[in-house]
């Protein structure tokens, strides 16, 4: 038996033994943290088992608590988890964004301190990038960190910090050097949120929800050992981390069911049939809607193939091209998907709360509003088009 076949069988066995029944159903995923909240006791068991095994971060090095799996092994793990309907054990910006940057830029000691906690979900991380005066022009940021003995003293304000009201730590871009030239005085600093100098205020969005916060620093402190990479060279880390963020958001453009799976009809087409009805040939009765859905399905499929191709081909313009193209296209596709769903559902997609709207319908409405931020967060579509034109097409400034 090949090694890979052995691995598959072992994985099946391990999952069978360790994945609790409740976690084999669809549902919410926990975010971990110092004071984690679990919607079901099985969630805690599942996180503990997966964290110990390192399979919350399957391809990270074992040395730092990761799973140490190869690409091929990871694929098998994902397939086997999918096969039993296992949901992820942990959702975390530590996994998607900070961890990969730490692995690339942090010292061995820093990795030992932070990465195992990300793998086990012991720390809930949030991201401190944007500021009220620095959105698309991120490098103009002005939150200051000044040396004071073994510490930095931090003063300033961050905005759009995801879930800062729950987070334990923040990875932050701070100015440690002069304001100009703006890219050269930025450092990458990890700051504990649990201190008097840090204040958090949730921002209410058009969806009625508050996934983002304002975060205020007033003489907050962080030990010098929390500075990642070289002082004033944080922009390099910032850019790399943005690529991870953009790749993460890209995935949203893949509408479920539009791929080559056994089920041919996409989720949107099902929805369209449900609300708009069918004709005598079982086609979607609204021909305009049908065309829009088909176009979206075709583009989703082409986009999925493109992400796959770019992952296979290191030569396709490098990670920056891939990430920016994916972020741009994926977020625009996701926005369009909700617009088409709204069109399909008519007024049933426009309820705010209560009767006669079903919870599923109300969720779509809120997700539609949420999706509007997709092409803004993590670099606007326009910024990503700038990156493509300058870095990939080499068009001049």
């Amino acid at each position: 038996m090949s090694d890979i076949q052995t691995f598959r069988e072992e994985t099946q066995g391990w999952l069978k033994k360790n994945c609790p029944p409740e976690m084999r159903k669809p549902g919410d995923v926990c975010w971990g943290g110092r004071n984690p909240s679990f919607s079901h006791p099985d969630q805690e068991i599942w996180l503990e088992k997966m964290g110990e095994k390192g399979w919350t971060c399957p391809m990270w090095p074992r040395e730092y608590g990761g799973g140490g799996l190869s690409h091929e092994e990871n694929k098998i793990l994902q397939e086997e988890m999918f096969a039993i309907g296992a949901r992820p054990a942990l959702a975390s910006f530590g996994i998607w964004m900070l961890g990969p940057a730490l692995l690339e830029f942090a010292s061995h000691e820093q990795k030992l301190e932070h990465i195992p906690n990300i793998v086990k979900g012991k720390i809930w991380w949030c991201q401190g990038y944007s500021e009220p005066g620095s959105g698309s022009d991120l490098a103009s940021l002005s939150t200051k960190a000044v040396e004071d003995g073994d510490n930095y003293i931090i003063n300033g304000q961050k905005i759009w910090t995801s879930n800062a009201n729950y987070a334990d730590m923040i990875f932050c871009l701070v100015r440690t050097g002069p304001q100009e030239p703006k890219h050269n005085g930025i450092s990458f600093l990890l700051i504990d949120m649990d201190q008097p100098g840090v204040e958090v205020k949730p921002i209410k969005l058009i969806s009625g929800k508050s996934p983002f916060c304002e975060t205020f620093f007033t003489d907050a402190t962080a030990p010098k050992s929390n500075l990642i990479g070289e002082i004033n060279k944080g922009w390099t880390i910032a850019k790399r981390l943005l690529q991870h963020e953009r790749s993460m958001i890209s995935g949203m453009g893949l509408a479920t069911g539009a791929g080559s799976g056994p089920k041919k009809t996409s989720g949107m087409a099902e929805l369209g049939k449900k609300y708009a009805g069918t004709d005598e040939k079982n086609r979607l009765a609204d021909s305009q809607l049908r065309a829009k859905i088909a176009k979206h399905d075709l583009n989703s499929r082409a986009f999925g193939l493109t992400l796959q191709r770019m992952a296979e081909d290191a030569k396709t313009g490098g990670p920056s091209a891939t990430a920016s193209m994916g972020k741009y296209y994926g977020s625009e596709q996701n926005k369009l998907r909700y617009e088409i769903m709204l069109q399909a559902m008519g007024t049933q997609a426009l309820g705010w709360e209560g009767e006669p709207f079903t919870p599923e319908e109300l969720a779509i409405t809120r997700e539609w509003l949420r999706s509007k931020a997709n092409s803004i967060e993590g670099g606007t579509s326009e910024i990503n088009l700038n990156v493509i034109s300058k870095r990939v097409l080499n068009l001049p400034n």
């Binding site: 087409a269 086609r283 088909a294 583009n299 082409a302 193939l305 191709r309 193209m325 088009l385 097409l393």
Partner: protein, 379 residues
């Protein structure tokens, strides 16, 4: 599914690139157009292409081909597409070879595929009858009379129809005008009595013709495939054709985009190169994204044929939809971004606009394939 060329396929494509750039740059096409060349392509060039093995890319080694498959063919078509090379590659090496491979009896295969692989026989596929792609609305009739069939009707938009040595023609042998069954394929000598071909001069200066049939007698031995059962052969050949032409269109797109990018970096207005203007940069970046999606769709579809995927039909529509949309976008933007010179005959960029619209019509437009994809996806 593989989405990258393997080493062999990449080598074939690189060879094609070298050959085309050296022997048939865009000027080659321009000269053929300007001289109103009767054949519409260079026979000498086709001979060289055949010597490189391109005529037999889809033909098995048994008949002298190289059996490189659709991915191999796609790589070559992309490169000939870059330089708008007119040649029998599509009509003969892709369509003709596929029709005979899928429909031919052993002796027909041996005879015809061997000749095609050597570059000694060119073919044309006479299917369409109207101005829009409606593959199964066939009113050309073939009636049995003794040991012959007698054919009457008219075919339109027959690629290479004016110059091919052999015409593969779809005619109705039974059923109503839109029935999928009752269609049969015939191998017809273009010099048959009653057959008249009229070259149609299209906007892309490539090679197409009408074929008029008046009591054309064809021996029953010239039937390709079973009587009344041409549909499944046609369907598979059309899908290969849709995917192949998409690869050629991708090549058209890439070249038009490259030429335009170069122009954006060169042309100065207001004291700056126009490529520094964000209004143009963003449009170029959007085109880049669409081109990447098109590459993946075409590659996926080429592989779907070679891997015998059960989703080949949807892949064919995906490729043709995306190739059509993107070439349409890029060829239009290319002309606009060139400004005044973009609408002059002297600049090559207009060729891509003209070719785009014709290629979009070959075996179904993007709208056609949008509808087809939805139908195949059961909505």
């Amino acid at each position: 599914m593989a989405l990258l060329f393997n080493e062999e396929q990449q080598y074939l494509k690189d060879t094609a690139k070298d050959f085309v750039q050296k022997n048939a740059p865009i000027n080659h096409f321009r000269e053929l157009r300007d001289s109103k060349d009767e054949t519409g392509y260079s026979k000498e060039l086709w001979k060289q292409m055949a010597e490189l093995g391109w005529a037999g890319v889809l033909i098995s080694e048994e008949y002298g081909g190289s059996d490189f498959g659709m991915v191999g063919m796609g790589g070559i078509l992309e490169e000939t597409g870059r330089c708008l090379v007119p040649s029998p590659l599509f009509s003969t090496a892709l369509l003709g070879a596929s029709l005979i491979e899928l429909g031919g009896k052993a002796d027909q295969k041996k005879d015809l595929l061997t000749k095609i692989a050597k570059g000694e026989l060119t073919t044309a596929f006479a299917l369409e009858e109207g101005s829009r792609h409606t593959p199964y609305r066939i009113s050309t009739t073939a009636e049995k009379k003794g040991k012959n069939f007698v054919l009457n009707g008219k075919k339109t938009f027959v690629l290479d129809g004016h110059s091919a040595d052999l015409i593969v023609l779809a005619a109705r042998t039974s059923g109503g005008i839109e029935d999928q069954s009752g269609i049969s394929l015939f191998l017809i000598d273009p010099n048959s009595t009653g057959l008249q071909r009229k070259r149609t001069h299209m906007v892309d200066s490539r090679n197409a013709s009408e074929i008029h049939l008046k009591d054309v007698e064809v021996p029953e031995t010239k039937l390709l495939g079973e009587l009344d059962a041409g549909f499944s052969i046609i369907e598979e050949v059309l899908e290969r054709g849709q995917i192949g032409i998409s690869a050629e269109m991708l090549g058209n797109t890439l070249e038009a985009f490259d030429i335009t990018l170069e122009y954006l970096k060169e042309r100065k207005q207001f004291g700056a190169v126009i490529g520094s203007f964000q209004a143009l940069q963003h449009r170029a970046a959007v085109m880049f994204a669409e081109i990447e999606l098109t590459k993946s769709s075409v590659m996926g579809a080429l592989n779907a044929v070679d891997e015998n995927s059960n989703d080949r039909s949807r892949f064919a529509s995906l490729a043709k939809f995306k190739a059509g949309e993107t070439l349409h976008l890029v060829s239009s933007e290319a002309v606009q971004m060139h400004g005044g010179v973009g609408v002059t005959d002297e600049f090559d960029i207009g060729f891509f606009l003209k070719r785009s619209r014709v290629a979009e019509q070959i075996f179904g437009s993007s709208d056609y394939h949008l509808d087809r994809y939805a139908t195949l996806s059961e909505y």
